[in-house]
Symmetry: C2
């Protein structure tokens, strides 16, 4: 019972050894992360098409729940760029931005996402995340970064534009370009320029003037806060909001409200697939960050428990005015670098954000949306990495096809189509590759007991026997292939008396392949040719023994292929075989 409780409540583990030292590092990390999160949360809410406070609310209760149920010690949970974009794409299909229905749809999406993650955790379905191959994830993140940056250009230009594909977004921008607001453009471009400069050049500059490394790092990371403060003051002081600069405006003061998502079956039906994709993408992003950080401190995280942690965090978001959340890369790295020792750092961050929500929201009244857009653009462009195309091209064309399809379809048709296409392409290409496995005809390397491909090595063969090494598990996708291959091999050749299948690389023989082997055996028997197996693996052999195949086999099963050679080879040279 205690073990079960501990498994599902990791807080019981680290909570018992909590010390004053860990407390102070956690508080320190929390202060830094809180300062960073205030503008970031507002910005991501903007990206998701939600009111700014939704971003802050989504960071408070979810972070607390993750602290109780999560296993990573440094992961910071909250709104992130890609999930915010996916949220906008999903709820944009069922409700108009700015309406009450839109906010409720966001809550429902968080509810569904939480339920899906929780179910995956309880049923230990974390392996589903493996269906996303690395190239597909890389391509998806890159394409999403481009889409997000493009979608924020409207705030920099001060115009209205919508669209979920790159062409749609750019078309919207082009159509609205006449209405661009010059002051907004100046603020946005200045903020973006400053942020790019701060990200690339500020730290090296500070180091050159002998600022200590840690401080230089912190100052450079505070770039977004500086941009927020400076542009807010500028708008307030020069009255720029009256000159058409869009500002954040009134953000309600107070703790996150209790909210109810919709349980309408229609809405749930419409949002289920998007919620599933958000859950899996969010989980993959979160677990990669968590594993990377845990490895640095030789800690382990439990993927299934992570699902539970993220699931409860999303359920929390659904009932406290938020939207789907996950573990974010940037915020987690900052948290880790700032010295967060336990999930309590997250709890303190939540307290910090709660104070901000209660006391500080009037301060962002004059914050220009263009500044938030600039922080998003600078943040997401670091996600864009097209080198994956060149790397996969060199290493594996199948992976290249998968990553290209993901990028093109994400840009062209939006995030959901893109990620689904990537998954389908990866699985399809894998099945296609295994449907035409490599099969080598092998011969004996003289003076050894080893067998090698007759086309690559100078080996001994025998008129009496054809040795085929199948380099793939035998299953339904390639069952017929083997049948065709063997029947082709024996037709038109000088007569062969025995065929030996060398099964050292056959990790499975499923029922379809069993039936194919039975068919091959029957046909060869009809032709007076023996069928033998060698080097069958233990688990494969165990299963074959449950069928009649071995009883009916017109041949033997040899432990080593050399045994088969010794038993069956006659010493006749193949060229003399047409006796």
């Amino acid at each position: 019972m205690t073990a079960l409780l501990r498994r599902y409540l990791p807080v019981l583990d680290w909570g018992r050894t909590y010390s004053r030292a860990t407390l102070s590092s956690d508080v320190m990390a929390a202060v830094i992360v809180t300062i960073m999160l205030i503008p970031q949360s507002l910005a991501y809410a903007l990206l998701a098409g939600l009111p700014p406070e939704a971003g802050i609310y989504a960071s408070i209760v979810p972070i607390l729940l993750y602290a109780v149920f999560g296993t990573s010690r440094a992961l910071a949970v909250g709104p992130v760029a890609v999930v915010s974009l996916m949220t906008a794409a999903a709820i944009g299909q069922v409700a108009e931005q700015g309406t009450a229905g839109y906010a409720v749809a966001a809550l429902t999406l968080a509810l569904l996402s939480g339920a899906i993650l929780l179910a995956m955790g309880l049923f230990r379905l974390g392996f589903l995340a493996n269906f996303l191959s690395h190239p597909v994830i890389a391509g998806f993140i890159t394409a999403s970064g481009i889409l997000i940056a493009a979608s924020q250009l409207k705030h920099i230009l001060g115009i209205e534009a919508h669209g979920h594909s790159l062409i749609g977004i750019l078309g919207g921008l082009a159509a609205g370009l006449d209405g661009a607001n010059l002051v907004t453009v100046v603020i946005g471009v200045a903020a973006a320029g400053f942020l790019f400069w701060a990200r690339k050049s500020l730290k090296p500059l500070l180091l050159r003037v002998r600022v200590p490394g840690k401080l230089a790092d912190a100052v450079a990371k505070a770039g977004p806060v500086a941009a927020v403060v400076a542009t807010t003051l500028a708008v307030w002081h020069f009255g720029l909001s009256e000159r058409g600069v869009a500002i954040v405006g009134t953000v309600p003061q107070g703790l996150p409200p209790f909210t109810l998502p919709s349980f309408s079956p229609d809405l749930i039906g419409a949002l289920f697939v998007p919620a599933l994709l958000i859950s899996i993408i969010g989980f993959v992003e979160s677990i990669s960050v968590a594993q990377t950080l845990a490895a640095k401190r030789r800690q382990r995280i439990d993927p299934d428990q992570e699902l539970i942690g993220l699931g409860t965090a999303n359920l929390g978001a659904a009932f406290t005015g938020g939207y789907p959340v996950t573990g974010g890369f940037a915020r987690s790295v900052v948290n880790f670098d700032a010295g967060a020792a336990t999930p309590a750092a997250g709890a303190f961050t939540a307290i910090g954000l709660a104070i901000a929500a209660v006391a500080l929201t009037p301060l962002v009244y004059f914050l220009p949306k263009a500044t938030l857009a600039a922080t998003i653009i600078v943040a997401v462009l670091s996600l864009v990495d097209l080198r994956i195309l060149r790397r996969t091209w060199r290493y594996s064309k199948a992976d290249f096809v998968a990553v290209s399809a993901t990028i093109l379809l994400t840009l062209g048709l939006g995030v959901e189509t893109g990620v689904l296409a990537g998954v389908i392409a990866s699985i399809g290409l894998h099945l296609y590759k295994t449907s035409r496995p490599h099969v080598a005809e092998v011969g004996l390397v003289p003076g050894t007991q080893h067998f090698r491909n007759i086309n690559r090595h100078d080996v001994k063969t025998d008129a009496n026997l054809v040795s085929l090494r199948v380099d793939e598990s035998l299953y339904f996708v390639n069952a017929r292939f083997l049948e065709d291959l063997i029947l082709d091999r024996i037709s038109g050749e000088p007569p062969v008396r025995n065929i030996v299948l060398m099964c050292s690389a056959v990790n499975e023989i499923d029922y379809s392949a069993l039936e194919s082997l039975e068919a091959i055996n029957q046909r060869l028997k009809g032709l007076g040719i023996g069928l033998h197996l060698s080097e069958v693996k233990g688990p494969v052999m165990d299963r074959l023994k449950t069928s009649h195949f071995l009883d009916d086999l017109n041949g033997q099963v040899f432990l080593a292929h050399y045994d088969a050679w010794q038993a069956l080879a006659t010493g006749d040279r193949p060229t003399l075989a047409a006796e």
Copy 2:
């Protein structure tokens, strides 16, 4: 050019050597098949919900086109039970049975099916059929047989009932039971009883009274014709159609008309997925029959050319008043047994059916629908074989799950859902199995150079080195698994200095797995542990060489695992290793 023509027109091959002897066997076979096909074609049209002549039309031009483009010498193309059921399910969703729209939808379905098959043939996509595993096909055919038999009960009872799932069909029958027509029931039950008896007991009986084998066989196979003749005469003679017995009625006399399918994008969109499923199921059924028959005469068929043959046959059906067709099991076996030597037998059958369409249709005016239903029921119940459940249960639980899902969902939700669920279940279970591959820690069998699982054999291990044999290709689905496994293996143990991955069963390392190996290498390097590979296959090694992995590898690649042992083993016993 000639070679290309010969490839796409197999008729040029067998046509050149056509002799008087082959002519007479072909004509003989055609006469027998024609007699068998007349009632069968009417019956399958009834099953598809189409007027009876559609079944005959679907057997004339398609069979001619297949004779030109197909490669099987005995395959008889035309309406078959499962495809007729799938046709009814597909077009029942877009049009009301008995309307002109329904017949046009059937033509459009044949057009789409033909186009899909032709495209698959030209682009050599025949391997797509491999995605249907044998158990899924077996389950689907069995469940379809049950559905078809149930759907025909309404004709035996003489009532109206609809439904595409077993529950729907049985519910419809129960609701309409009060309206059952006693005379119809008597005819239907008598016909079905007679046909079952003819199928099971007539041939043995004839043999016992010394009728020669071939004749006994022919008489037994003529059962349906006898039932048709007897019940038609009974209805005509006793005027039973006035007592509520549904009859075939007027069938237009004449050759197949020229018809135009609809090219409406809406209709094509609605029918595309059903057409794809019909094409693949039809192709799988046809190719199995063709391969079985070809093997008996040591002939080969070309699957991609078969797609072209079936594709043109379906296009022919679309323009001559038919509906989707494929190579049928029963008719092909009869054709083969009757001695058909070339596809010309099919052409002669088409001529026979054309004569029937022109001259004989008035004779079936009084043919009761109950008799046709009885012939369908008796024919399809031979398809039902639930033993596949027991066999897969014993051999492989994953295959059992796939076949159960296919049967239950086909019966419960209809043919399309059923076959899709089967495909998804097969692929999903395959991915799931390969996502958790068997990994054995191996040690040296004393006195040999062989390595075996340390948990199964008494082998030598070494404190300095952990040898892991991975029994699966490394690809995205299991990339993370290996990472977790190795990190688990090295945590908490007495320190290990070297890990060797034995790759004899690794047939592929995709880009995701490469990145995982890179991550493993980095982490192990950080811990001062070497990572080595052994027995890497040629194609896998070729690919690894295109990446930086081998340059960064904190260890070596050994040709044989024994080489790794000799280079790395220190001779320390593992239990003494905590030095």
